[in-house]
């Protein structure tokens, strides 16, 4: 039951082979059994989940079920959930219960999905390893020594370990794609503005985008169809209708033009990953796609541009955490300055503070032009480079990460080393493009991902290509052996 695809689960539920309550219980049991080790969940809500499952079973019995009714999922603990703690993996919000739900949470609930709980992440989504969580690091289900990636590491690990069939994630600089790659699952970061950001705690508002994480492109297509769409509460949400992604999955790839950006296949890339990707590209060619080399000359510059823009926006977005209206407040503040400084210094972890400081510095008087303005200009140049390649090819194929999951603790003392690992994912966020990571094999028992990058609003084609690839390969069906 736990290894079924979402479509198969829906069939099983519809045929009465099993109930949503049974399905939900099966995943709750696995969470109970494995979460202590994996630490993928911050909050589990078994009673509420079983109640929702019961309601779903009634809908199923009365033939009113949709494609996802009764199927469990988990939300990254960055999405506000009314009545359930939303911590963003920070001490700052350890006691925070949102009085509203994120649009994404509402939409998936309206689709009848059963909510199992909230998954772990890097604090305020700032990280690529899930080690900055106030609730401790998440372990990679494939290798307890390895990080699961971040920031949506809890979601990725939970899906990979079959603690949930699907989860939500957010991606500001690779936070869906990189953990998906490290944990051997499929995840898609949609076009900026495709999925509402209402109720999704902001890290860097012009880069953040929510998306689904699951075991296959087909599952992601089903989920994205429900998550996406215009939201009047989000000014940056785009007024465009949502295509029927699942219906596009089976289109043939004949004549599809794929571009390989040469800067993504340079010396930074682990040779074994390069080899696995060559295999994957061959598969795509077999399916009828044509491959050509393209160039994104500013690829490396996406790192500094991103590490100015994201911290700058974050420094402002995180100013609201001041110990006055909600969240952590220090004991016995002497005066207002003390209230602010101690509440914030106690409430935020080291990486969050580092980024707030960098962002504050980049925006401060005398440095704005050299840092922030410069980064915004580079952002335009990087975006234009992507647009040029999409005049030549339909999609880009690239590695998701330069190397497989690194060891826990190996990069925590050197933020720059950690940032450099994001080289292949950041440009996509700067340009607001849709991109996904698809399992493409393993290196020494650690999974790796193939990244597909599309032009704006081309999610349907990304999912189509990924699905065709997954029909021809079985990387996405590999399952880790778990230690209880």
């Amino acid at each position: 039951m736990i290894n079924l695809s979402l479509t198969q689960m829906a069939q099983g539920l519809a045929s009465g082979e099993f109930s949503s309550s049974e399905l939900t219980q099966a995943f709750l049991d696995r969470i109970q059994k494995y979460n202590t080790h994996l630490n993928a969940f911050i909050t589990v809500t078994p009673e509420a989940a079983l109640e929702q499952a019961k309601a779903a079973d009634q809908l199923l019995a009365s033939q009113q079920a949709g494609a996802l009714t009764g199927i469990p999922l988990a939300h990254k603990d960055i999405f506000c959930t009314q009545g359930i703690k939303t911590s963003c993996a920070s001490k700052m919000l350890d006691n925070f219960i949102a009085p509203y739900s994120a649009t994404v949470v509402e939409k998936l609930a309206a689709a009848g999905m059963v909510h199992l709980g909230k998954t772990n992440l890097d604090e305020f989504a700032m990280g690529s390893s899930n080690e900055s969580s106030f609730y401790g690091a998440v372990k990679n289900p494939w290798d307890a020594q390895a990080v699961p990636g971040g920031s949506s590491g809890g979601s990725a690990a939970a899906v990979a370990a079959r603690l949930t069939p699907a989860a939500t994630g957010t991606d500001t600089g690779g936070s869906i794609r990189q953990p998906a790659a490290f944990c051997g699952i499929t995840g898609i970061k949609p076009t900026y503005g495709r999925v509402s950001r209402w109720g999704m705690i902001a890290f860097a508002s012009s880069l953040d985008q929510g998306g689904p994480m699951a075991r296959s492109a087909e599952d992601c297509a089903l989920l994205l169809k429900e998550m996406a769409g215009f939201d009047t509460r989000d000014s940056t949400s785009m007024q465009r209708s949502v295509p029927d992604y699942p219906a596009q999955l089976n289109e043939p790839l004949q004549g599809l033009k794929l571009g390989l950006p040469k800067e993504y296949f340079g010396d930074d890339l682990n040779p074994e990953i390069a080899a696995r990707l060559q295999d994957a590209i061959k598969e795509l060619e077999k399916l009828g796609a044509q491959v050509k080399e393209v160039s994104l000359p500013l690829t490396r510059l996406a790192i500094p541009a991103y590490y100015v823009i994201a911290p700058a926006e974050a420094s402002s977005n995180l100013s609201r955490f001041d110990g006055v209206r909600y969240g952590h407040r220090c004991d016995d503040p002497r005066d207002l300055e003390d209230l602010y400084k101690r509440s914030r210094s106690e409430g935020f972890g080291a990486e969050v503070k580092r980024r707030i400081l960098v962002g504050t510095y980049a925006l401060s008087e005398g440095f704005y032009d050299a840092y922030y303005r410069k980064a915004q200009q580079l952002r335009r140049l990087i975006t234009e480079d992507f647009q040029k390649t999409f005049n030549e090819v339909d999609l880009l194929v690239a590695p998701t990460t330069p190397s497989p999951a690194f060891d826990l603790g190996s990069k925590t003392n050197d933020p720059v080393q950690m940032y450099l690992e994001d080289i292949y994912t950041l440009g996509v966020n700067l340009a607001g493009l849709p991109a996904m990571s698809v399992p493409a094999g393993q290196v020494s028992g650690r999974p790796l991902g193939m990244q597909l990058i599309g032009s704006h609003f081309d999610e349907g084609r990304l999912l189509n290509v990924a699905h065709q690839f997954q029909q021809a390969t079985d990387h996405h069906l590999q399952t880790p052996e778990l230690d209880a």
Binding site: N95, I97, P99, Y192, G193, S206, L207, T232, S235, T236, M238, R300, L301, I303, P304, A305, V308, S319, D322, V324, R325, Y326, G327, R329, P333, D335, L336, D338, L339, Y340, K341, R344, S345, F348, A350, K353, R354, I356, L357, V358, T360, Y361, A362, S364, A370, A375, Q376, Q377, L378, R380, L381, T383, D414, P415, V416, Y419, L430, A431, G432, H456
Partner: protein, 95 residues
């Protein structure tokens, strides 16, 4: 490259963060390294390039002027560390 302690303190104050003395050096070093990475941008000539604040070339949608939000003050203030008579309490603000 390290960030001068004086600059670090100034920035920390703007951000309302206190830095423990024993971590100042770490922060100076780490932030200095980040700034060094960031300085790679200066190699590219961006003169005349319009800064890009949003990834999508879209314009602001306007909301009609209607009261749509209901306020359940008690529920909202359940989240607050200190309130009295419906007010949020902070240490005395001196003007």
């Amino acid at each position: 490259m390290t960030l001068e302690a004086e600059d670090l303190h100034k920035v920390a104050h703007l951000a309302r963060l206190t830095l423990d003395p024993q971590v100042i050096d770490d922060y100076s070093q780490a932030i200095g390294n980040i700034l060094e990475l960031v300085d790679e941008m200066q190699a590219i000539d961006t003169q005349g390039v319009l800064p890009m604040a949003h990834p999508m070339d879209a314009t602001q949608r306007l909301r009609s002027d209607e009261v749509t939000e209901e306020v359940d003050r008690d529920q909202l203030q359940n989240q607050a560390p200190a309130t009295e008579q419906g007010l949020y309490l902070v240490p005395r603000v001196v003007e």
